[in-house]
């Protein structure tokens, strides 16, 4: 999903910066607020960022025969909300743009919009929706992480089709979807499973933090696990 350096006309670079920056600014405020209110959530924020670090560095083979990487943003989106993740994703994207020539500074706004905003926002919405209809936390986090990952790549395809509607937006979209979104399907499922493993482990060790962050309710915690008091 990393649009390479210089691969968007400057007008589009500017446009996506303008869209992404207010969300990132709001995310910084949100992070400050949540870590002030619940200082014990800081390690969890570090875990959310670290999860993005790991997953976005792993380029995995897909059944389409090409390789791509997961995003890792679903976990943080469910724990801290999408705005906070836009900040975490921006940190990862800057790291990759400067040190790995992966993505770019000109395309940072666009890449943060897909990986740090649309994906996490979708994951967060889906988590809320699936929980509302009464399914388990594990199923909810799975679907949220899968769709957050996949929709990030769909967003990249939309962004590129808007910038390069050659010959038309529809034709370009089919082309970019074929490159990005098909390859991503099995990888999104892999990301979903990994997110379930980490989330269940956090829920087992520190359900108290998840309850304070209002991610889960006290009655979501299985009786057999004893969290911090």
């Amino acid at each position: 999903m990393h649009i390479a350096e210089g691969f968007l006309p400057w007008q589009w670079c500017l446009f996506w910066y303008i869209v992404a920056l207010p969300v990132i600014a709001y995310g910084v405020i949100q992070i400050k607020k949540v870590t002030d209110e619940h200082p014990e959530s800081k390690p969890l924020l570090a875990v959310s960022g670290a999860f993005i670090f790991i997953l976005s560095s792993l380029k995995l083979p897909s059944v389409t025969g090409s390789c791509s990487h997961p995003t890792g943003t679903g976990l943080g989106a469910v724990l801290f909300g999408p705005a906070a993740v836009s900040v975490l994703a921006a940190i990862v994207l800057v790291f990759q743009a400067l040190l790995l020539a992966h993505g770019g500074i000109t395309t940072l706004g666009a890449n943060d919009f897909s990986m740090g905003i649309v994906g996490p926002f979708a994951a967060w919405l889906i988590w809320k929706g699936v929980r509302k209809i009464g399914l388990s936390t594990s199923i909810a986090i799975f679907i949220a992480a899968v769709m957050g990952d996949w929709l990030t790549y769909v967003t990249t395809a939309v962004q590129l089709s808007l910038a390069f509607p050659i010959p038309t937006f529809e034709v370009a979209f089919l082309k970019f979807i074929a490159i990005y979104a098909y390859t991503q399907v099995p990888l999104a499922i892999a990301e979903g499973i990994l997110t379930v493993v980490v989330f269940e482990y956090i829920m087992k060790l520190r359900p108290d933090i998840l309850i304070k962050l209002k991610v889960i309710r006290p009655n979501d915690v299985p009786k057999s696990t004893e969290g911090a008091s």
Partner: protein, 117 residues
């Protein structure tokens, strides 16, 4: 005495669920390697979708207007930096979850000691 052995027994129960789930991830990753076994990048396999996008855009006649400020000088250096990125993440997750795991074990131990008295 009996209590301690029970406690040890309890700690020995391995939760199989994460192991099964991680194995499933391994299958998803290994499957493409198996079905395209013997094929390589020169035949158009295992290239990155992040490279195919720009390749297609360039084919429409577009030239990028900005170059990366710095590029890893070789694939070795690139893999070094990617590995470093994953390692940083893994250290943080391992540290925090390990710390919490230790805290929980300590809490349980203390609770059991109190009950014993």
């Amino acid at each position: 005495m009996m209590y301690r052995s029970q406690l040890r027994g309890h700690h020995n129960i391995v939760n199989k669920r994460p192991i099964i789930l991680l194995a499933l991830v391994a299958v998803i990753v290994i499957f493409p390697l198996a079905i395209y076994n013997g094929k390589g990048e020169s035949q158009g396999y295992f290239g990155g979708s992040d490279d195919q996008g720009p390749a297609y855009i360039t084919s429409t006649g577009y030239t990028p207007w900005f170059q990366s400020l710095w590029e890893p000088p070789s694939p070795e250096i690139e893999s070094l930096l990617f590995a470093a990125q994953a390692a940083i993440g893994a250290i943080i997750i391992g540290y925090v979850l390990g710390y919490w795991q230790g805290q929980q074990a300590e809490r349980k131990k203390r609770k059991n000691d109190v009950e014993k008295k």
